[in-house]
Amino acid sequence: MNLTLKIWRQKSKDTKGKMVDYKVTDISEHMSFLEMMDVLNEQLVAKDEEPVAFDHDCREGICGMCSMYINGEAHGPDRGITTCQLHMRMFNDGDTITIEPFRASAFPVIKDLVVDRMPFERIQQAGGFISVNTSGNTQDANAIPISKHAADEAMDAATCIGCGACVATCKNSSAMLFVAAKVSQYALLPQGQVEATDRVLNMVKQMDQEGFGNCTNTGACEIECPKGISLENIARMNREYLKASL
């Protein structure tokens, strides 16, 4: 199929960007979206133009590196996937596709479609861990039974890949789903209880300092999350936070 791409081009953090039109031809429906971008970049390099910079790495939906806003949605129109798992069969011949970087004040553009997600790192550093030494001198792994239900729920929260789609999608650029996923994972496990109070307070404080917006429960994050992290986690974090504050 043949497509028109409208892509955000921005040379660096401090320069102004704009949408630029490109044409690509002979795109197979079996291609992944990023493979289509590879085709475009090969074309650009052949013409001595600068290829479009975009983050990507594992290309199997788990590293959380890829981060495009395609046709007005984080990771494009499909559900439960990252951009690298989006396939061209979701589009039709002759379509115009807009491709923008994830937008949020806390995620400044580094170049073209690449954004800086360092705030996520700092939030995790503020408390996204259990303070246990890695010496291995802990108790036996089976010493504390954990109900299958709690373990499964913790696992569901823990599958967050830190891509930032929740922030990009949220009209308020709120990072609540991301933070809630981590808080929930530990809140659901006995190992996480010891530091639960400090963890939720510190992580939320850091989240606020980074300039993310406020959650207004639109639920868009849950829908666009490639891993389907549930809004329940946000409710759980709210509870944890209230518990910790009062």
Partner: protein, 672 residues
């Protein structure tokens, strides 16, 4: 040819070697650790766990990752699980058995003492990870669940759905975060190491490029740890991440670290088949699928042709017209034979024309019988009387979904076929590299003060890695081995003081790095970096792939050299030095692959035996029950081939570390 010193401690029985060694090893006292810097390159499972542990012990750690966060390292993509000899299932597992299985699975080409140590610390890893909050799968009693994996007879694999690597990496990442917050780890995200700096023969620092600004900077330390992963991307198409590269490993090789067994590459049997030339990478699906899936191709060539032409559906082929070739050839292990065996068997069927997708390069992985098996079980549990066939299948599918739901979903997204209704298609793809930088028992390379851990080193898996052992090795190296052994070296360094980056060695290294970067930008050639990478990949796959022979290997060596020369003349890199420039990043990595690929082929040529992931067509059983199977040659090749860099890859000098097997009798690997 010098004899390499593996520094395996002598005098203790194998089972006590590590314990006794740890008791006597030199340590650095806590006050002195504060004055010692360690650089860690790569922050996947091995690098991340090492960085966290070193920082916890008190060293000042500088960690480097090319991605924007340690959490993105490709360890995250490991799906199936992690082995540990916990024997929670009471099925006869033990450290010895894990050790034995690993050595046997590696086709007797690994170092006994290292592997035994790995087995010994495996249980600790699980304790550690649970304490960190890794949500491993549990049974209804609340205890940890296990699954079984290819090549072994016990259930010892711990898992977190199909995202075990992710959860373990996030565990290591959280341990890192704790140390970053404390200021004990200085994290350099989006930085790429471009060379190591040696001062007086010791590794004393690195040159790194900030991938956002393009700035090239010097970093000093008392020791450098390389944990940069494997070199599978030498094939262009592999299950590795797009950015996975061998640059750190190859740069240290060029500075004097020997590179061992590059030809040992694992081709993973259960990947999603290629669909066209534009393909940028291959997607792996956990081998755990083979626990419940049955692999087959049509028994009749006419059926295969009809399927390839799209005229026949797999579900239309009757049971008796299907060839469950793994069950046929290997009745004892069936669909759970080790990866190399499963991969070659798939290639054998596809080469014979029985492949099942349009490219003819795919076989079926069928869950129909598992649906029924689990469904019947569930019907019993739920006390359903006379359930209909559809009900049984539905119940069974729910169990399969619970176990592998994310894999099924991933498959459906890529292929656009529902694997609950029609069998999956799979084909082997390059997945893991057992070869790597040669290290001794302390995980130190042949350069003093330079360590190499995880997939980047060669040590524990021999010629073939068992499923769920990569995560085990990465974490064992990082959490439990390197942090001890590095102290033995650093205890001599407590009086060295801060290392300056203003020396001529740093200056020289930085100059070389900058010259090379300048060259790429100014070359203004005719072809993109990917053009060369794809050409290299095709040669590697066709001639240094699943089955190798002397003629093809010799051709490959000559052809890779040609591509390399062409690359240095005609490569085109757009953009500038001092900016975010992905083409420039790729150029450096591909330049290194173009050298590594040649050494790879040379090593494959040298090793005229079939062992593990390395299969030489000249070395097969000629008769008996094993006819056509790989033939190992212990008399001539029971050694580690460690190559010393001498200017051109093909001029590399071979050093041998003879492998001694005291505790294990060398046997033909038979899974029949």
């Amino acid at each position: 040819m010098t004899k390499l010193n593996s520094k395996v401690p002598k005098g203790s029985p194998l089972a006590d070697t590590w314990t006794n060694y740890k008791d006597k090893i030199n340590l650095v006292n806590p006050a002195n650790k504060r004055n010692i810097d360690v650089i860690v390159i790569g922050t996947g499972l091995a690098g991340g766990s090492a960085a966290a542990t070193l920082a916890e012990l008190g060293y000042n750690v500088k960690a480097f990752a090319y991605q924007d966060s340690p959490r993105r390292a490709h360890s995250i993509a490991a799906q199936g699980g992690i082995n540990a000899a916990k024997n929670y299932q009471g099925d006869g597992d033990s450290n010895y058995r894990l050790f034995y299985d690993t050595v046997k699975g590696g086709d007797y080409r690994s170092r006994e003492a290292n592997v035994h140590r790995l087995a010994e610390v495996s249980g600790n890893i699980i304790d550690q990870c649970v304490a960190q909050g890794v949500p491993f799968a549990r049974d209804y009693g609340g205890l940890l669940d296990n699954r079984s994996f290819g090549g072994v007879l016990v259930s010892r694999t711990f898992y977190a759905k199909g995202q075990t690597g992710q959860q373990l990496l996030l565990g290591a990442y959280s341990a890192m975060n704790r140390q970053i917050a404390r200021g004990k780890i200085e994290m350099f995200n989006r930085h790429e190491m471009l060379d190591v700096v040696l001062v007086d023969g010791k590794a004393r620092g690195i040159i790194a490029r900030n991938l956002i600004t393009g700035e090239v900077s010097r970093h000093s330390a008392h020791a450098v740890v390389v944990a940069s992963g494997g070199y599978g991307n030498v094939y262009f198409l592999s299950t590795n991440a797009m950015g996975s590269n061998a640059t750190a490993a190859w740069k240290i090789h060029k500075k004097g670290a020997y590179f061992a067994n590059p030809c040992y590459t694992q081709i993973h049997p259960t990947c999603i088949p290629r669909s066209g030339d534009y393909q940028s990478k291959l997607t792996l699906m956990s081998e755990s699928l083979r626990n419940d899936g049955r692999i087959w191709v049509p028994a009749n060539i006419e059926d295969a042709k009809a399927i390839q032409a799209g005229k026949l559906k797999p579900t239309e082929i009757a049971e008796e017209n299907r060839d469950y070739y793994l069950e046929r050839r290997y009745p004892a292990f069936g669909n759970l034979v080790p990866r190399d065996v499963a991969s070659r068997a798939a290639k054998e069927r596809c080469d014979a024309g029985y492949g099942v997708n349009a490219t003819g390069e795919a076989v079926y992985l069928d869950f129909a019988s598992a649906f029924v098996r689990y469904g019947k079980e569930q019907a019993k549990i739920h006390n359903l009387e006379n359930p209909s066939k559809a009900e049984i299948i539905k119940l069974g599918q729910a169990i399969i979904e619970e176990k592998y739901g994310n894999l099924f979903q991933m498959y459906e997204k890529i292929i656009a076929e529902n694997p609950y209704e029609t069998p999956m298609m799979i084909y082997p793809a390059t997945h893991y590299t057992m070869g790597g930088v040669w290290v001794d028992y302390n995980l130190m390379t042949t350069i003093p003060g330079l360590y190499c851990i995880g997939e980047a080193n060669f040590s524990d898996h021999g010629a073939n890695r068992l499923g769920a052992s990569a995560l085990m090795q990465g974490l064992a190296d990082g959490y439990f081995v390197l942090p001890y052994t590095i102290g033995d070296y650093l205890s001599d360094d407590i009086r060295t003081g801060r290392i300056t980056t203003d020396s001529k060695e740093f200056e020289q290294a930085e100059k070389e790095v900058k010259e090379r970067l300048d060259f790429f930008i100014n070359n203004k050639g005719t072809h993109s970096v990917d053009y060369f990478h794809k050409k290299l990949g095709k040669i590697m796959w066709d001639k240094v792939g699943m089955a190798r022979n002397e003629k093809h290997l010799k051709e490959a060596i000559a052809e890779i050299k040609e591509i390399r020369e062409d690359f240095w003349k005609n490569v085109k890199v757009t953009g500038n030095l001092n900016e975010f420039n992905q083409e420039l990043e790729k150029a450096g990595r591909v330049a290194d692959f173009l050298e590594l690929g040649e050494l790879f082929a040379l090593d494959a040529l040298n090793r005229n035996e079939s062992c593990g992931g390395h299969f030489r067509e000249e070395s097969v059983e000629t008769d008996g029950a094993q006819k056509g199977e790989a033939l190992r040659n212990d008399k001539d090749y029971a050694y580690v081939a460690a190559w010393e860099y001498k200017g051109e890859p093909s001029d590399a000098v071979l050093h041998k570390e003879e492998l001694e097997f005291k505790d294990i009798e060398l046997k033909t690997r038979s899974y029949k």
